[in-house]
Amino acid sequence: MRHYFQRKLGIYVLTFFVAVTVDWMIPRFMPGDPVQTMLARASLRPEASQAMQAYYTGVFGLDVPIWRQYLNFWGALLQGDLGVSIWLFPQPVTGVILRAVPYTIALLVPAILLSWWAGNKFGAFAARRRWLDNTVLPVGYVLTATPYMWLGILLAWALATVAGVFPIAGGYSFDVEPSWTPSFLADLARHWFLPFASLFLVGFGGWAIGMRNLIIYELEADYSHYLEALGAPRRLVRRYAFRNALLPQLTGLALQLGVLVAGALVTEIVFSYPGLGYLILQAINNQDFFLIQGAFLFIILGVLVANFLVDVVYVLVDPRTRVGMRGAA
């Protein structure tokens, strides 16, 4: 087991290292001077532009040898310094991002967990039940094929513009002050619901399909037939099948994390929800390269941590990992 975690952690550390290197490399080795590109788009007066050029050349550290720049980059990073935002000058990028992250997490974590749980339950229930199966299959495939933002757009249009049940945009209404009062929390929840629902629905379809397929596969396995031959009740057989099918679904969850985060980002953009996705859109529109680079590192870090959590859960639920990893494998 120790070996298993060491291996996994090794991969994550290596990934983080590669990601940071890419983050450092891309602005420096892409064609053109990053400082020039940035300032050309800011369209400033000449004297201001010159001052900014001097400042940003210093920030990028372009006046020292390349290996030194790389070390400086790591040094700053380890102190939590990701540079200064251009769009929200002179706020530090780390602070700007940390303010947005709670919104994204509040959206993403419940959506992932609930859709995974509900999708698995429902998929298992639908498998091998003719009528249900025939509807679940096409609906599920259409749901997983739906681009996140489009489902968000449709929900916003139907339930906010047309029906007027939910607010169409924002994290909370403009006329309330952020505070821990019930009325503000209720307002927050109303704004939270639609983006959450669109993330949930797309995920739900995928998990339901995956589970349905796995259950059918498990019910064809020898142990299922053996149990049936012994006269075990159908429910018992299905329960064993479900437990076995959960493992690949867990691996699938780890694989889907990147896609899910991407989904959350675009959903936030649809609803102008003040999370990381909305921040990234603003950063792109304002050519705020530091902010984009910072957001990139945050996303990678988040996905790596989530991957590690899935690994831990996997070891907890699969006894074979514990046995296998202690032995030869």
Binding site: P147, L214, G252, L265, I299, A329
Partner: protein, 309 residues
């Protein structure tokens, strides 16, 4: 089966992927038999029909409708009518023209991005699985690293710094970052195939590594490879739509994701201009959904255990 094997086989079926973990040994006799089942498989026919219909629209649409996607051709914010089948945007651009051109971009991204990802995945997977040893270790490490990195994050940072953005470079970058699960699945299957008798026989007869991989091993999973390509196609389309929607799509052309981006940006939502944002999303959903359903059909055609008679 050791745990790492179970793990690897499991990754061969991501959430939306093929119905069952593919049985490695399914010896598909190409030709007659598969075709017989293919013609009788409703899922396959239906899925293929929808995809081909959209392809026809993508090819013929711009020929029928002479307007460019960004031309200002009519009164702004028109509902769908006989003149403008899908209505017009807030600036009087023809939504149908945008849709048809966007479909072209969609198919191009899917074909190129999916194709490149399949190619890289196959090269890495076959090499790792066939050579084993140190080569395998290194490639496996690479695969695992690219696997956990969120594709969109990398594309985000690349697209931000690249100034010229066309559909083709976009597809290439998507392809370069979406191959890892393919490589893992193919590696696992190559491992289990390389110790079979027919591979030993080929080796005895003096065939080289590349020849054995392409003549003996690859044909045994040709159906799986084809289905993988379909999934990658769908995945590339979705990734491209996401990128375009964030505003990192083609700057000179038109795509379905860009249409949605424009619609949201220019408040089509509060204004209720549904004809602007419904077609692009519906097009993507139908194409990708049909591809998935087609894949289930193909699975039934190639895998005798799943056939309904």
């Amino acid at each position: 089966m050791s745990v790492s094997d179970a793990d690897e086989l499991a990754t061969a079926t991501p959430a939306a992927a093929a119905a069952t973990p593919v049985t490695v040994a399914s010896k598909v006799r190409p030709g007659r038999e598969a075709l017989w089942f293919a013609r009788r498989n409703r899922k396959l026919i239906l899925g293929l029909g929808v995809v081909l219909a959209f392809l026809a629209l993508a090819v013929a649409g711009p020929l029928v409708d002479p307007h460019g996607p960004n031309e200002y051709v009519g009164p702004p914010s028109q509902r769908p009518s006989a003149d403008f089948w899908f209505g017009t945007t807030m600036f009087g651009q023809d939504v149908f023209a945008q849709f048809a051109h966007g479909l072209r971009a969609t198919f191009l991204v899917g074909l190129l991005g999916g194709g490149l990802a399949a190619l890289v995945g196959m090269v890495v997977g076959f090499t790792a699985g066939w050579r084993g040893g140190v080569v395998d270790e290194v490639l496996n490490m690479l695969t695992n690293v690219v696997l956990v990195v969120p594709t969109l994050a990398v594309l985000l940072i690349i697209a931000t710094y690249l100034r010229v953005r066309g559909v083709v470079p976009e597809a290439v970058f998507i392809g370069l970052f979406s191959w890892p699960w393919v490589a893992r699945a193919i590696r696992a299957q190559t491992f289990s195939l390389r110790s079979r008798d027919f591979v030993d026989l080929a080796r005895l007869s003096g065939a080289g590594g590349a020849r054995i991989v392409f003549r003996e091993i690859a044909p045994n999973m040709s159906s799986y490879l084809f289905m993988t390509f379909i999934l990658l196609f769908g995945g590339s389309v979705l990734t491209a739509a996401t990128l375009d929607f964030i505003g990192l799509g083609p700057t000179d052309g038109m795509s379905l994701g860009l249409m949605m981006n424009n619609a949201v940006l220019w408040s089509a939502l509060p204004l209720g201009m549904w004809w602007w944002f419904v077609p692009p999303g519906l097009g993507i959903t139908l194409i990708v959904g049909s591809l998935y359903i087609m894949n289930v059909g193909l699975d039934e055609v190639f895998n005798p255990k799943l056939r309904e008679l």
